[in-house]
């Protein structure tokens, strides 16, 4: 008999830390909002710039005057070279369009606001990281027990990925505004609809696989998200370039915004790299989940809705990678596939958790277990 054991409760969550975590998350939201306005200022000041490199490269008059793609000619030099210089030329069929200057459009004030925005983003990132950390400490476990915790970790990770790419000197500053917008939405949803008091885990979640499986899942989501933003911008920029190349005249707002983004080829390549780089990790996530399911539920694959949608997401991304190698499917078609794949990921996260009941909903462990025994 376990009457005595039943009263012996597991350690209570540390209320103080949980409170601090909430304050940190709210502070992070405030700072993200400031960063958001700073990014807006960057874009606004940048719009004064009259740089129109894409147009210059693609309008018919420009085409006629255009010099050959390769202009550096080493043989023509007279000095003895320190090192031979490598000449790179674009592949045939791809447009030779230079990357845009970034959101600030070369405007000094814009650039200043952009830098302020990034500093604020770094600050907000630290705050939200602290929020996740104190949440974890308050419950003495990984902060991935419910959707509120997923959301705050997810946005922290997505911003972390962005800042990491920036630190690696990748050309990603243009992502800032789009990223802070969604991060604010994501955190807003978290604190209003998904908020859950800090609490302990149900036994089904007690496993070191939680750390492995869920952390990689969140990281994959964050990177897929960055990839999806790049894909959307690619579609806009590509349409813009197509219009220019066929002699059309895009609107002034589109021109102002899109001129400042990298060339469509660069965006496409960036999106591909990002998606391809996490695909193996996503594969690993699913496999780790299967191993965990084998321990927790007695089968490593059982077509539970969450498993089904992870599989669908995986197949969709595999399709995207295949599309890139299939003639006639490159470019826009492949981009639509990438968006579809990200849509599947989103549905797997929100849709399946909210609309579909399965083994991954932990609200009714008792009955769920019974059902699985066939009662």
């Amino acid at each position: 008999m376990t009457l005595a054991a039943a009263t012996d409760l597991a350690a209570a969550a540390n209320e103080n830390l949980a409170e601090i975590s909430n304050v940190l998350i709210y502070s992070a939201m405030t700072v993200y909002t400031l960063a958001f306005f700073a990014y807006i200022a960057e874009w606004t000041f940048g719009s004064r710039s009259k740089v129109a490199r894409t147009a210059a490269a693609l309008t018919p008059e420009a085409e006629a005057k255009k010099a050959p793609a390769v202009t550096v000619n080493q043989a023509g030099g007279t000095a003895v070279l320190e090192r031979p210089k490598v000449v790179v030329r674009a592949a045939a069929g791809s447009r030779d369009v230079p990357d845009g200057p970034g959101a600030h459009g070369g405007d000094e004030k814009g650039d200043l606001y952009g830098r302020i925005a990034i500093s604020l983003t770094v600050l907000a990132f630290c705050l939200s990281f602290g929020g996740v950390l104190t949440r974890a400490l308050s419950v003495e476990r990984a902060p991935w027990g419910n959707m509120y915790e997923f959301n705050i970790t997810f946005s922290t990770t997505a911003v972390g990925v962005y800042l990491l790419l920036l630190a690696l000197k990748k050309n990603v500053r243009w992502l800032g505004l789009f990223l802070t917008t969604t991060v604010l939405l994501d955190l807003g949803v978290a604190v209003t609809w998904l908020y859950t008091e800090s609490d302990q885990l149900v036994p089904a979640l007690h496993s070191y696989w939680l750390y492995i499986h869920v952390s990689t899942a969140i990281l994959c989501g964050a990177v897929f998200y960055v990839g999806a933003v790049a894909v959307i911008l690619y579609l806009f920029k590509d349409a813009y370039e197509n219009k220019l190349a066929s002699g059309g005249k895009p609107g002034s707002f589109a021109t102002s915004v899109l001129e400042r983004l990298p060339a469509s080829a660069s965006l496409d390549k960036f999106a591909y790299r990002v998606n391809a780089a996490v695909f193996p990790l996503w594969t690993f996530t699913i496999i780790a989940g299967a191993i965990w399911a084998g321990d927790a539920w007695g089968r490593y694959w059982g077509w539970d809705p969450k498993e089904v949608w992870s599989f669908i997401t995986w197949v969709a991304y595999a399709g995207y990678l295949h599309a890139r190698a299939t003639a006639g499917w490159k470019g826009r078609k492949a981009a639509y596939l990438a968006l579809l794949a990200f849509g599947c990921w989103l549905f797997n996260y929100y849709g399946v958790n909210i609309f579909v009941s399965g083994k991954h909903s932990y609200a009714d462990v008792g009955l769920g277990a019974l059902r699985s025994v066939g009662f």
Binding site: M1, T2, L3, A91, D304, V308, A325, T326, K330
Partner: protein, 575 residues
């Protein structure tokens, strides 16, 4: 690639030359337009095979597979939740038959879903075999020689040097070999290639997919899965007859059951007392003693939700839990006719439970006739109090246990030959005991309390002992190791195939018209990548140190070879 072989302009010859340099940088099948064949059956078969193993169809099949998987996640599935399917059938009498016809209650074993993945895997095998041969051929052969005009490749560099052409070529060969390129001298240039692991990885990944599928299918065929509910103190030995229910794959035989037995010592469950998650389990575990084989040595084990007990190929999972109040039934003379723990099935998360107490033998009614007794039992571990107005349990732990019984007598029809659930009572031949008002006789009992049946028919005691039971699932599945091995190989292969670049480098050194050696270097990757020019610059830098630059005698800015804007596309980017 150029198809204009009849065209003899230098431009076309050049294109062919460049095309050859870029060929075979991968083993991806080339796309052909789906022209309909005109030849008979064999022509059609060949056409069909070509289509099936093309990238385009593989892509379409992949998309179809993910589309096909969707309905199974939204419509209840028999394999996962049979009661939900039954529910659905009751609510939708128009849709249900349609779904049945389409196999939508069984998506993942339906004909059409199987057709998609079988086609995909035939396509995969049909794709891998020729790609493997092609790759072996590429490994046996040598990297193609340098195209005539290296300046037209995506990345190139050139300089003039005082070193002899021979010396430069030799240095280049040595350098490239040291950098683990496969390099050889072809005419006046060194041709080198690196990154074959990309192809190995890609083939490994696709082969690993096949291994995983076969392992999964194999596992399903030999799988067995049985459930057993065991009260604290009772035991189980792994034979078919002991299971409450049992499912197995079509190739499973009963001899495959791993021999073992175990005893349940104690189930321990603790639950959250406060907060929004009040009532969710915190500890949930069972202590067992078990023996492997017929007469192995006895060991103890703790089985938890994420920690099954592994015995040979079998795994024992703790899947459910409930209460089994100990009940004693006496006849009118006070003789004990039944005394046992009666397992009851939980109805909700707070373990409100129900079941039946059946007295099959040994009871005689006050008239001395043989009869059977049946009691509908309703149990709550934490009663809300009679003022609460509810009989539902308030908490899953045993805080305030109450047992409610209603009494019947007659024939339980237990020996009618039809298997009966121990948790349900067949009332067709049973009569109610009546209370003073003529209604069904029923009572709430606290532990230790006894209720007397009307007219001296006997008594029922709810003993001061409530046992707990644990539900176990015993699963045997083969092929798990293969599936895992396949999965690990798949990730490794995928990483190699995505992160390794396959690329070629050529170094040409010839004597120029003025007697000074001209060095030309060019690089070509499978897809456009910043790495190729970077690496080329690196190699050029090192080679330049061996063959330092010579001053230019006559500037000639209008070098005609360099003004042609047509560059060589990376392979796959053609057309």
């Amino acid at each position: 690639m150029s198809k204009t072989t009849t065209d003899d302009t230098p431009q076309a010859a050049d294109d062919q030359d460049l095309g050859a340099a870029g060929s075979q940088l991968s083993t991806a099948p080339t796309e052909e337009p789906p022209n309909l064949p005109s030849l008979g059956v064999i022509g059609w078969a060949r056409w069909f095979w070509r289509q099936l193993t093309s990238m385009r169809v593989a892509l379409l099949l992949l998309l179809l597979l993910s589309l096909g998987a969707i309905p199974g996640s939204l419509i209840p599935q028999t394999g996962i939740d049979e009661t939900a399917v039954a529910d659905f059938r009751e609510r939708h009498d128009v849709l249900a038959p349609v779904y049945d016809k389409l196999g939508l209650f069984n998506v993942y074993s339906s004909v059409w879903f199987s057709a998609i993945y079988i086609l995909l895997f035939i396509s995969l095998i049909g794709c891998i075999v020729p790609r493997t041969w092609q790759f072996v051929g590429q490994l046996r052969g040598r990297p193609p020689g340098a195209p005539r005009r290296l300046t037209r490749l995506p990345a190139h560099t050139t300089w003039r040097t005082g070193a002899e052409p021979d010396q430069v070529r030799e240095a280049a060969l040595a350098l490239l070999k040291r950098r683990r390129f496969r390099a050889h001298l072809a005419g006046d240039a060194v041709a080198a290639e690196k990154g074959y692991l990309r192809e190995v990885g890609n083939l490994l990944f696709h082969i690993a997919l096949i291994v995983m599928l076969i392992a999964f299918g194999w596992g399903q065929l030999f799988k067995s899965e049985g459930n057993k509910l065991i009260v604290e103190g009772d035991g189980f030995s792994n034979t078919l007859t002991q299971y409450d229910d049992f499912k197995s794959g079509s190739l499973f035989t009963n001899d495959d059951l791993v021999p073992f037995s175990f005893h349940v010592k104690e189930f321990t469950g603790t639950y959250e007392r406060t907060g929004p998650n009040k009532g969710t389990p915190r500890t949930y575990e069972t202590e067992l003693t078990y023996t492997e084989g017929a007469d192995g040595e006895e060991k103890t084990a703790l089985v938890k939700v994420n920690k099954p007990l592994k015995i040979g190929d079998a795994k024992v999972y703790l899947v459910s839990h409930g209460y089994a109040p100990v009940v004693t039934v006496r006849d009118g003379k006070g003789k004990i006719v039944f005394q046992d723990a009666v397992p009851l099935l939980p109805l909700d998360a707070n373990v409100t439970s129900s079941g039946v107490v059946k007295v099959l033998d040994g009871y005689r009614n006050p008239q001395g006739e043989k009869e059977q007794l049946g009691f509908n039992a309703f149990f709550v571990p934490t009663f809300g109090g009679s003022a609460s107005g509810t009989m539902l349990s308030q908490f899953p732990a045993l805080d305030y246990p109450v047992l409610a019984l209603s009494a019947y007598h007659g024939d339980l029809k237990a020996d009618s030959g039809i298997p009966q659930s121990v948790y349900q009572m067949d009332k067709t031949k049973m009569k109610e005991f009546k209370d003073a008002k003529g209604e069904l006789f029923k009572k709430l009992l606290m532990p230790g309390e006894t209720m007397r049946l009307p007219n001296g028919a006997g008594s029922v005691t709810f003993e001061k002992d409530v046992k707990e039971w644990a539900g176990f699932q015993v699963v045997q599945e083969q092929g798990g190791g293969w599936a895992l091995g396949g999965a690990v190989a798949a990730i490794g292969g995928l990483a190699a195939s995505l992160f390794i670049q396959r690329r070629r480098v050529w170094v040409r050194a010839v004597e120029g018209p003025d007697g000074v050696t001209v060095v030309e270097m060019a690089g070509l990757g499978r897809s456009e990548s910043a790495k190729v020019p970077e690496e080329l610059g690196d190699l050029a830098g090192i080679l330049y140190d061996r063959a330092p630059g010579a001053p230019d005698p006559s500037p000639d800015p209008s070098d005609p070879t360099d003004t042609d804007p047509v560059a060589v596309p990376a392979e796959g980017a053609e057309k």
